[in-house]
Symmetry: C2
Subunit: 400 residues, 2 copies
């Protein structure tokens, strides 16, 4: 048995070199950049007018009420005009190039325009006002985004602006989600009284799909020879196996044995945690085949995916997981010498992230998860946890 910290460290240490694939930028959010992105030009590429109004030569302004005849109109998308007479002005539109020989923009709100003339209604004009200077945001050739950056819609804005319609991101490894246990039936079947539907494969696949991670799904029956035969077939094709069930101490739990016989070396079995104690983790000698064998009960599977596997895949892509904490909203006692992943509902109040404990004693009690946003990680060294103390949070629902 290893501690949660040891298990986490061992899992994170097994990272292969991920492949890359090209995806359309519109569907790239959540993925991780596999290439660095450079500015193909200055941003903005020109001195950009930031307000509708007039452009003038600031030095020519003396006093409020001064009038500048309008020479021309500078539309967005047109090459820059040239102000011929510096006592005149040019009307300018937001987004347009600042006309040559001008260096300040005065907003319509600060003007009175009549008969082709603009009267200034403010006391002071500063050089550069209402102008977004060329290259202020980025210089041509500058790195805009580094490989290893997780893409959000904000990054899509940048990618589009430099002309990328598609982008290289890290590819997820070929992955199999494998359930086991003869008590499980397909979800569209009506189970006998002693049977239940196999929900874990769907839960895992949904959690993975949210990240863009596709997988195949298999089921193993409780027969040692068949388990081994099927695992061999799966391992020939897939590089990552996420199993649920068949790793506790039960008479019919052949999976760890079968995996070892297939050359998957155990890196740990059993973690001093609740839920999820029977978690088994292993890899082939060359670390090209990685097996997460999770306990079969739904809450354990769910916790282990979010605590170990999600940070692991992100780590493979060079993204280190954020360490976030929340504060216990009520006292909790947990005596067993295990790290306790307490089911909590979170609330952001006055900038404070509060974690409200929500029942969920039994680790099979997954009906509870619908009222819960995450797990608060209560360390094994302690058994009394007080309201107001901050502990790591493993969240599976967006806080915002």
């Amino acid at each position: 048995m290893v501690t949660v910290q040891e298990a986490f460290r061992i899992v994170q240490s097994v990272t292969g070199k991920p492949g890359v694939e090209e995806v359309d930028i519109v569907t790239s959010t959540g993925r991780v950049l596999a290439e660095s992105i450079y500015a193909d030009r200055d941003f903005p590429p020109f001195n950009r007018v930031a307000m509708d109004g007039i452009a003038v030569q600031a030095d020519k302004f003396k006093t409020r009420g001064q009038v500048f005849p309008i020479e021309d109109i500078q539309a967005a998308g047109s090459p820059p005009l040239i102000l011929k007479d510096q006592n005149n002005c040019i009307e300018v539109m937001t987004g347009s190039v600042l006309p040559k020989n001008t260096n300040a923009v005065i907003r319509y709100e600060d003007l009175e325009i009549k008969d082709g003339k603009a009267k200034i209604l403010v006391e002071k004009i500063e050089r550069g006002m209402n102008i977004h200077p060329q290259s202020q945001d980025a210089k041509q050739g500058e790195v805009l985004l580094m490989a290893g950056k997780k893409i959000s819609a904000a990054e899509v804005a940048l990618l589009a602006s430099i002309g990328k319609k598609s982008v290289y991101v890290f590819a997820f490894p070929r992955t199999a989600v494998v359930s086991s246990g003869d008590e499980l039936v397909e979800i569209d079947e009506v189970p006998e009284l002693h049977q239940i539907r196999k929900s874990n494969s769907y839960t895992l696949q949904a959690a993975m799909k949210e990240m863009g991670w596709k997988s195949e799904s298999f089921h193993l029956t409780d027969d040692k020879e068949l388990v081994k035969k099927n695992l061999r077939t799966i391992l020939e094709i897939d590089d990552v196996l996420i199993l649920s069930g068949g790793v506790s101490k039960g008479k019919f739990d052949f999976i760890p044995e079968a995996l070892e016989e297939l050359g998957i070396k155990k890196l740990f079995h059993q973690v001093s945690q609740r839920p999820g104690k029977p978690f088994w983790f292993g890899a082939s000698a060359d670390k090209t085949k990685i097996v997460f064998a999770l306990p079969g009960n739904p809450v354990s599977t769910f916790l282990c995916f979010h605590k170990y596997i999600k940070p692991w895949i992100m780590n493979c892509f060079g993204v280190s997981s954020k360490h976030i904490t929340a504060r216990l909203a009520a006292d909790v006692i947990f005596a067993p010498p295990l790290t306790y992943f307490l089911q909590v509902r979170t609330e952001l109040k006055d900038g404070m992230l509060l974690a409200h404990p929500k029942g969920g004693g039994g680790s099979g009690d997954f009906a509870n998860l619908k009222d819960v946003d995450g797990f608060l990680e209560l360390p094994l060294e302690k058994s009394a946890f007080n309201a107001g103390e901050a502990y790591p949070l493993i969240s599976f629902r967006s806080i915002v």
Copy 2:
């Protein structure tokens, strides 16, 4: 001009009745349930063994060291066995039905098994121990999930367990994303010096796609008759239009006029906010056509989408938006009588959500967004904002 509060209220008040569609549960995360979900059986459906070990009749246990001969093995997925002699025990596997005539499970860890007999190594046995009682999580017929619930992988677990392979969710309205401005070129073109690529459509479509919201994309050129003609065509097909650009006070900004001529009544134009002041919002008299006309600069578009449109669509689905706050990590001065959406990087530290201001003065300065996680909403009534004060946060990046 309206305040941010008025604009928000007006936008949220225009909600139509959304349609529904059926989606596969694996791709349902992020969507909103359009049907309530009931337990088709008790959860668990039987008294479920929660640990591998033996099942006994608790009353028959007298003292540590007592030996119970093993009658049989109860596998998961098999109908319940019956303990014939109450001085015996049955070996049981996690997930199996509790055998009849037994009422407690003792874990392997607390046993010594030899020659078909189990010796008890603990002092005390309690009725019901290591058993997950029938219907503890939910009773048959009970509502498990209400319509209007946003689906995460946790809800997928429940949906799968009651046999739902697909589920009804609210459908997004037919939506067009429409850019405008003659300074814009396609993103795969090389812009002239005075031109820029049209990134806004991609940013919006990426932000929408993350929620499962698909849209068509159009571009309008700066010509009043063409603008009107194209908007008419789009309005014939799409019910929601998200425009960017063409709503400020510029000479070439025909869009509000064209929209009003097409029967889209202005509900507000201009919001006392920075960025995003020129925001225009309108709807047809019967509220079946809704138009968000956002300012064209990328940061304004981005802010308005997250502040107004995302809560609006969720509100249409019956999901009220979470009101979250973060604490300013540094003093900020902002004098204009506008609500200021300050670009911030967030950090969760000891359960406190801190918002670090990150440059980004100009509202066109979107290269800055890559280092930013959201906008802190600083009210217009104040101009000095102190470190430690909590303000609403509009986040566009997952905090966890």
